[in-house]
Each structure stands twice: as structure tokens, then as C-alpha cells.
Symmetry: C2
Subunit: 139 residues, 2 copies
């Protein structure tokens, strides 16, 4: 599996799934909009609410995974990336991924204290297609 093919696959998906570990040591998962920005397969940026449950969880425990999948008529493809999630609230990063339409979610705009950025950094990944699984590392 070429990593460039995985990048193309991820770019085609409209939804991503982000996983965290909660205070009771249970895995949690949530569908999110696709990442706003990525650097190869190494870094992914998502926008979210500073007050959200997920932000609290990642501050307590940065261990995370993100997941992309597509179920077609004939085959199913899934990519899980494992790594760490950071919660970024600096204005520079907030500006970086802000889109005009975000005002629906963050009434005070790009400086809204309830708007922040989740930055995921990949350590390794797992690719699934047609009953076959392949692990890969990300440098």
C-alpha cells in the first residue's frame, strides 16, 4: 500500500471519526467533519468547541486515533491512524483553519474563546481493504 493512495482516500471522505479515552478509561468515538488541513499523513487539524467533552478528555489523556472509512458496493476500506491529540487555542492556529461559515458554530467569530483547534500527530497506522490488513509507520 502506497501512502499517497491513503492520502487520496482520506481526502475523498466527508466524515472522520475521532477516538479518545474518557475519565473512566473507556474508549470514546465521535464523527466529525473532515480535517480542515493535513500535512501528509503526519498532522491533521480539526476545529471544535473549547467547552466540548472531547477537549476535556484530550487534555487529560492525549492518546488518540482518527479513522476514515468507505463502504462501497463491492469493497470496504478503513484507515486508522494512531497518535496524540493536542488542543490548540493560540490565535495563529485558530486563524489557520477558520472558514467563514464557522460563524454558525462560533458566534463570536475566529477569536471566540469557545473555538479551538485539535491537532492530531500520527505515530502509526493500519489499513484495511477486502479482508486484508496492513500496518505502517509514519515518520
Amino acid at each position: 500500500m502506497e501512502l499517497s493512495k491513503i492520502e487520496k482516500f482520506i481526502d475523498k471522505q466527508k466524515v472522520s471519526f475521532i477516538c479518545s479515552i474518557d475519565e473512566e478509561n473507556h474508549p470514546n468515538v465521535k464523527a466529525m467533519l473532515k480535517p480542515r488541513k493535513r500535512n501528509g499523513l503526519k498532522e491533521f487539524y480539526f476545529s471544535t468547541n473549547t467547552s466540548s467533552m472531547r477537549v476535556k478528555q484530550y487534555k487529560n489523556n492525549p492518546n488518540a486515533s482518527i479513522y476514515f472509512y468507505h463502504k462501497g458496493l463491492l469493497k470496504y476500506v478503513g484507515v486508522m491512524l494512531k497518535g496524540k491529540m493536542e488542543v490548540l487555542t493560540d490565535q495563529e492556529t485558530k486563524n489557520l483553519i477558520w472558514k467563514k461559515g464557522d460563524i454558525i458554530f462560533y458566534k463570536k467569530g475566529v477569536t471566540d474563546p469557545d473555538y479551538c483547534v485539535l491537532k492530531f500527530t500520527t505515530e502509526n497506522g493500519r489499513y484495511y481493504c477486502d479482508l486484508k490488513t496492513e500496518n505502517f509507520d509514519i515518520q
Copy 2:
């Protein structure tokens, strides 16, 4: 939110997502076929390979969540159930959820040692729709 509506929502989904915690204390997620059987919102049965990574993880740490979601044109609905996952290998349970077509995945049929059952028992849940979230307990 009425729980019966959540049950109907879950029955409509073709895919479920199951979450576990791996040996390095990272959350993992994987898309699976829909559960083969459920008792209300309390118990869910999935078929899987005894040799799979997920089975190993649940034996080490039964903390789990399962997730169902649907993204429509106008709204997005997600349901996360948190609880425990058991790995069942007794023949009675294996018979319970076996379907003829499973022979594709388990060549030796319903007694195949590589065929087993994941039984999820719910403790509580979280329902998301249209930017609103609601927690609920399952008795």
C-alpha cells in the same frame, strides 16, 4: 429522546463502529457489520475472528464503546453506547448468531475455532443530533 427511537435508528444502519483500548493505552476503532442480534439497547452481538487484534484487546481490557451514525443531507445523527465487551466462544452463542453466508469468512463453518462472538453490554449512552447532545442510562 425516546430510547425506542434510538433502537429504530440503530436498526437502520448498515455499519457499526467498535472501540477498544490497545496494549499501549491508545483508543482503537474499527468499522464492523451491523450487530447480528440485540436485546433492547442493553446487549449487542457481533461475529468476528477469534484470532483478530480486537479480540486480543478486549480480553486484556473489556472497556468498550459502540457507535452508530448517519449523515443525511440536512442533519447528522450519532449514538455512542459505552460498556463492556465480552469474547464468547461457547457453541451455543456461536450457533445463535451464525448465518449461512458466514462460511466465506470462517471456512470450517459454525464450529470453526476462528469464529467467535463479541457481546457488548451497555452501561450508558450519548445521543447527538443537530448540535445537541443528550446522555442516557441503560438499566
